[in-house]
């Protein structure tokens, strides 16, 4: 695995760089969207607030915290050792993977059920969105399984 060839510091620096770039891109996107959106249209304002809250709490605040922890680990050898232990924690990795596996299977069935409900109700936007997400889920699973992990 190429990951093993890099040193821990190199991996942490790479993660730090990715996180900083992502934070910058996201804040730029959100700022641009604020000027671009037409808030006078009905339903746009609540949807915008929901998106801001969800995105910030799910992605950006944990990412900012991650940046803080990465910088601390790169400065302090004690925290560097802690980061190494966390990276090697097999039980935590297993729990994460099992949770994703269960979620993926649950979501596949939920998407199929939603497609079956959306069609009789003639909600075609709902149907096509669910079908797109379903294909994305299974397609990425299949591609990752066949062309990435099976070759390791």
């Amino acid at each position: 695995m190429t990951q093993k060839k890099q040193t821990l510091e190199q991996r942490l620096r790479r993660k730090l760089l990715v996180d900083v770039v992502l934070v910058a891109v996201v804040f730029a996107l959100f700022l641009a969207q604020t000027f671009f959106l037409n808030f006078r249209l009905p339903g746009v304002r609540p949807a915008w607030y929901v998106l801001c809250y969800v995105w910030m709490f799910t992605f950006e605040f944990p990412r900012l915290d991650h940046i803080r922890r990465l910088r601390r680990a790169l400065r302090n050898p004690v925290y560097l050792e802690k980061a190494r232990q966390e990276e090697d924690d097999e039980r935590r990795q297993l729990i994460e993977r099992l949770a994703w596996e269960g979620t993926g299977k649950l979501l596949s069935w939920a998407l199929l059920a939603a497609m079956l409900v959306a069609l009789p109700l003639a909600r075609l936007e709902l149907f096509w969105t669910c079908l797109g997400v379903y294909l994305l889920l299974w397609g990425s699973w299949w591609l990752l399984r066949r062309y990435y992990w099976e070759r390791m």
Partner: protein, 159 residues
């Protein structure tokens, strides 16, 4: 740690019989949904073309989804139940740790990709003022993250 696949051969036979029943039920459900889809066209001639187009799609896709799951499930169970040697092979395959690991890693990758895709989908849908798409993506996002969090915290962490 919980064992996902019980190694007892008689348990595996029972599991195969359950899979066979599930396969039959899915095929029957597909046929039933197809019948319902076509019956609506006959019983509601006054409705517009969009309504009938959606029902035709439903009548074609619902059975296709049910059959795509049901038929392979039934055929596999039927094939393995009659042949103890192949049944043993299939059981060993299901317990193959490498296969399980690859599956889990692919799910983890797909889950993370999908989370990002849904978040971007929400951003794009809002920019295009497609609110139905926005709320669908939001519901799927909540389902994805919520079930991940619940499974992680309430199920796997307590094993």
């Amino acid at each position: 740690m919980k064992q996902w696949h019980n190694s007892d051969p008689s348990d595996f036979s029972r599991r195969l019989r359950r899979e066979k029943t599930a396969g039959v039920l899915l095929i029957l459900l597909g046929i039933l949904l197809s019948g319902v889809g076509f019956a609506v066209r006959l019983t509601h001639p006054e409705q517009d073309e969009t309504f009938h187009f959606a029902w035709q799609l439903f009548a074609a896709l619902a059975p296709a989804l049910c059959l795509s799951y049901g038929v392979p499930l039934l055929l596999r169970a039927q094939r393995l139940l009659g042949r103890p040697f192949y049944q043993d092979q299939a059981r060993i395959e299901q317990e193959d740790e490498r296969a399980l690991l690859i599956d889990q890693k692919a799910w983890a990758g797909a889950g993370r990709l999908l989370t990002g895709a849904l978040a971007l989908g929400m951003l794009a849908a809002l920019a295009l003022v497609q609110l139905a798409v926005f709320w669908t993506c939001f519901a799927l996002f909540l389902l994805l993250r919520g079930s991940w969090w619940l499974l992680r915290r309430r199920y796997w962490e307590q094993m």
